[in-house]
Symmetry: C2
């Protein structure tokens, strides 16, 4: 479906707008694990998460031809921030539809990037309906959070930044929410090195991709996890078949394992990682000590400071 | 007092044992400040603080000649961890004397490096007496936390890593506890570029160096601050005259300003910085917006995760 050149050309297009995050490692975490762990810290990416890659890919793909009046999306999280930031960069209008119970800090961050905020009720279909209505009425481009080929290729540029190590890498662990990040990374890596294993990670309390993957069909589930970026009730129509085709395994992690991984990041690496970003280290720490070369994608670092206490004082 | 070659030779000696920490900056913090801020993140240094530089300098200076039976110091904080780590690296014994009310986490960290822990009462003179007794009885080398020329030269290697930018730097902000870090950095920088201003930073609640500097003589004070690494009741005999000679100014910061700086590190840079390490950004944010090139030394990142909540939930 994808060719190596797809990712290379998207990377070239988005390069001015993103950081190429530098791999981090920790001797003490390696000692705990018994494997060589290489962490790709997208928490240190612009806007604090990988989402800027997909947003930049989508917007630059449009900017090559169409005239853009504005962009719109429905996300109070990392995707919303990424779209707002990229729109500001390109000097186009952005409207972000979010639930009226979203934290003030997130609203402020998006307003800080100059985005218009539209508040609707707390149900996710209300947000999507409103975003699509705005797109229709104003002629704005809707930027999907994951189920879009341009967005997926953008996230896949992380894979491109990993393949310079070639087949020395044994496994790459990737968080799964709607599946955009893992679809992109798995498609990219397998295009170059089919032998590298790509492992998806979901919280046990929010495992719609795992459930669908086992059943062989898109399945809706209830979600309950601190990993707010991974609370997708079902996989995407585009991402699900890509996961079926390219992902080698999906592993589940407990809430306590996510918190323990966050604590390790803070204590050993002095790094703030959001729960959704910490799931990969949680999964890696369950691997057998076999001196393997394991890569963990740290998807983001946007977490309310006051929430950190809640996780560790309970 | 010091020659440029002093710092160069110490740097060469300790290079195998330390990281040369890479300068970090944040576009959003620069926008808040109106200056160009360059942060030297010693929180990402081995053992989580700059203290390893001084410990490495002292131990390698001994290792060149004397036979060492063991080393001993009195510190439950970053200096204790640094000495324990360096002793392990050299395969020599380390004994760390700490108060019996020290947090378990710190004791575990030092035991993790193979150090022997000796518990005494909570008064600081009890620790020092016991450490010197052990040094005498066992023939161990006592490693002072700051008032020692080898230790000071070790901390000064941070200055050496900054001078490659030459006179483009307007000011360097350095936390002050006992004065070892700023003595080293100021001596080093002024040896190369006397025009670069070196500014010391102390918490208002613990400003023994400021008080002594104003009075012109070593003065003892009471201390009360969340910046536990900066709770020195008086400057050192060696560090005080160096500060008088080389430091251009000393500024004081409030507890709330320290907390706000810690929050900025977490939110904007995804970085865990301990209160003592955050004082420099707190001071920098009080500078006028003049597009100056300001360097902040981030001395360490060792903070109990559960304490972070206390700082931000109050």
């Amino acid at each position: 479906m994808f060719k190596p050149s797809d990712f290379i050309s998207v990377k070239r297009r988005i390069k001015p707008y993103i950081h190429e995050t530098r791999i981090l490692s920790s001797k003490s975490i390696n000692e705990i694990s018994g494997n060589n762990i290489f962490l790709k810290p997208e928490c240190l990416q612009k806007t604090g998460s990988f989402k800027i890659r997909g947003a930049a890919s989508k917007i630059t793909s449009l900017a090559q031809g169409e005239k853009i009046d504005g962009v719109v999306t429905a996300s109070s999280g990392n995707h919303g921030q990424a779209v707002a930031y990229m729109a500001k960069t390109f000097g186009i209008k952005a409207t972000i539809v979010i639930p009226n119970n979203a934290p003030q800090a997130k609203i402020k961050a998006m307003e800080g990037y100059g985005a218009e905020i539209v508040l609707v009720g707390p149900m996710s279909n209300e947000r999507l309906d409103m975003a699509q209505k705005i797109a229709r009425e104003r002629g704005y481009i809707y930027i999907p959070p994951y189920d879009d080929l341009e967005v997926i290729k953008g996230q896949g540029t992380i894979g491109l930044e990993l393949i310079k190590w070639g087949e020395k890498i044994d496994k790459v662990f990737v968080p799964i929410g709607g599946g955009g990040l893992i679809s992109g990374i798995a498609s990219c890596i397998k295009t170059f090195y089919p032998k590298i294993k790509v492992i998806g990670v979901e919280p046990k309390g929010s495992c719609s991709m795992y459930t669908s993957w086992i059943k062989g069909e898109i399945t809706e589930i209830a979600t309950d996890t601190i990993a707010d970026g991974l609370r997708a009730v079902k996989p995407g129509e585009i991402t699900f078949p890509l996961v079926q085709k390219y992902v080698d395994n999906i592993v589940l992690v407990e809430e306590d394992e996510i918190k323990a991984a966050m604590a390790l990041y803070m204590e050993r690496m002095k790094l703030i990682v959001e729960p959704s970003g910490a799931v990969t280290l949680a999964a890696i720490l369950k691997e057998e000590a076999l001196n393997q070369n394991l890569v963990g994608i740290v998807s983001g670092g946007n977490v309310d400071i006051t929430k950190i206490s809640q996780y560790f004082l309970e």
